[in-house]
């Protein structure tokens, strides 16, 4: 695999995580538990989709075949999406949605911070925008997790169940395959060991304050980065892609 192909895939990995999570969060639009949270989640969805757009646009430029952000979002098949399985998990209850975002935010913030020093100027510029937003995201999800964990018996139970259910999907965030290692050597991508250390620290600190237990590492799900997704992914793409598939080239 050439460096160019590796960079293309690396952009897609990040973009797809953000695009799919953004879609999940946008499903809350009009269904939030309180107005402020409805607004918060749609704002977050907007931030994620903004970063995804930047990354998809750049991926298209790197690939050099004239594909636009829209081509990459609307016209790739399921097996060509390389997001982790974490972000495709259904929303569940509010504790589950918050826990899913918290685990992603605890990874995304140090990743964005590290990418601001990438040898790739465009990735660094995209991360430079994202890092400021990611601070707000992590603060939002941490605050709610603490409120749930340290709240009522019921909210505590649900928050713990959410973490326990999601933990198996966190391993995939930190897998460094040959492609990734090549980009680390080139100074394009950060070493995920450092990102994992920051993730661990955030998780431990927030969970301690939330009086929640960190789940024990067990079987870790994988395959998302290789395009092998769970049963949910097809439904997500059906919703995202329906219009462009049914009416190719439709504009508004």
């Amino acid at each position: 695999m050439s460096q160019q192909e590796a960079l293309f895939t690396y952009c897609l990995r990040q973009a797809d995580d953000l695009l799919i999570l953004s879609h999940r969060l946008s499903e809350w639009c009009g269904h939030g538990p309180v107005l402020e949270e409805d607004i918060a989640l749609t704002n977050r969805a907007l931030d994620h989709i903004g970063e995804a757009r930047n990354l998809l646009t750049y991926a298209g430029q790197v690939e050099g075949k004239g594909r636009t952000e829209d081509d990459l979002a609307f016209l790739r098949a399921e097996r060509q999406f390389v997001n982790t399985k974490l972000v495709e998990q259904p929303n569940g209850d509010y504790a589950f949605t918050i826990a899913r975002s918290f685990l992603f935010d605890a990874y995304h913030l140090p990743l964005a911070e590290a990418l601001t020093k990438s040898s790739d100027a465009q990735l660094a510029a995209i991360a430079g925008k994202a890092v400021k937003e990611a601070q707000y995201h992590l603060r939002h999800s941490s605050d709610w997790l603490k409120r749930f964990g340290d709240g009522t018996e019921e909210s505590h139970r649900r928050a713990q169940a959410a973490l326990d259910g999601l933990w198996t999907f966190t391993g995939e965030l930190f897998v460094q395959d040959d492609l990734h290692q090549g980009l680390v050597k080139a100074g394009v991508a950060p070493d995920l060991i450092a990102i994992k250390a920051s993730f661990d620290e955030t998780v431990d600190n927030v969970l301690a304050e939330a009086t929640l237990k960190r789940p024990v590492d067990g079987f870790m799900a994988s395959g998302g980065r290789q395009g092998k997704h769970g049963e949910n992914m097809g439904f997500i793409l059906a919703e995202i892609q329906y219009l462009q598939r049914a009416y190719p080239g439709a504009k508004w």
Binding site: I39, N43, L46, H48, N54, G128, K129, E133, Y136, H140
Partner: protein
């Protein structure tokens, strides 16, 4: 038909840009918001460089169109608006005048980013744009648009938007 064919200057373009408002906060112009990074005039063509406030801010496309329209309407035919990401926009680029206008419009202006680390800990002290009281509290980190948080004044009991420090 009278056509004024005075030479286009950067100063003239900036004067026109003062008429282009932030579509989500029409109290301030794109210049006062600090999103205009450069204005280049070559012969009869104008290149305006803008930078997005928030990554997914839907107002950016509108700002681009509004800039093109304002300059076209002023008789400048050859206008190009480009977007750059780096350096990333910061609320520090909102001009002093812009901040004063935000406040008059009922939006608490952002703090200086020097204390952005305080984001993770303490909240800033935010003055109520309605009554000036500092006895205020944040309701939600996310407000009516990507750039705002929702606050409430404990003195006059009015809710208000705060332009988030970024």
């Amino acid at each position: 038909m009278v056509m004024v064919t005075s030479a286009i200057t950067e100063a003239r373009v900036r004067e026109l840009l003062q008429n282009v408002k932030d579509p989500e906060v029409p109290a301030i112009s794109v210049l006062e918001l600090g999103v205009v990074r450069a204005v280049e005039v070559k012969n009869d063509s104008v290149l305006v460089t803008i930078t997005p406030t928030y990554t997914g801010c839907p107002a950016m496309d509108v700002m681009k169109q509004d800039i093109e329209k304002e300059l076209h309407d002023a008789g400048i035919a050859d206008v190009r608006v480009q977007q750059v990401l780096s350096p990333a926009w910061t609320t520090d680029w909102i001009t002093t005048e812009g901040k004063a206008k935000l406040k008059a419009y009922g939006i608490a202006p952002p703090e200086h980013t020097a204390d952005i680390r305080a984001l993770k800990g303490e909240l800033p002290v935010v003055e109520c744009p309605h009554c000036g009281s500092k006895n205020t509290g944040m309701i939600s980190l996310f407000g009516s648009t990507a750039c705002k948080a929702l606050w409430k004044c404990n003195a006059c009991l009015e809710p208000f938007d705060q332009f988030k420090c970024l």
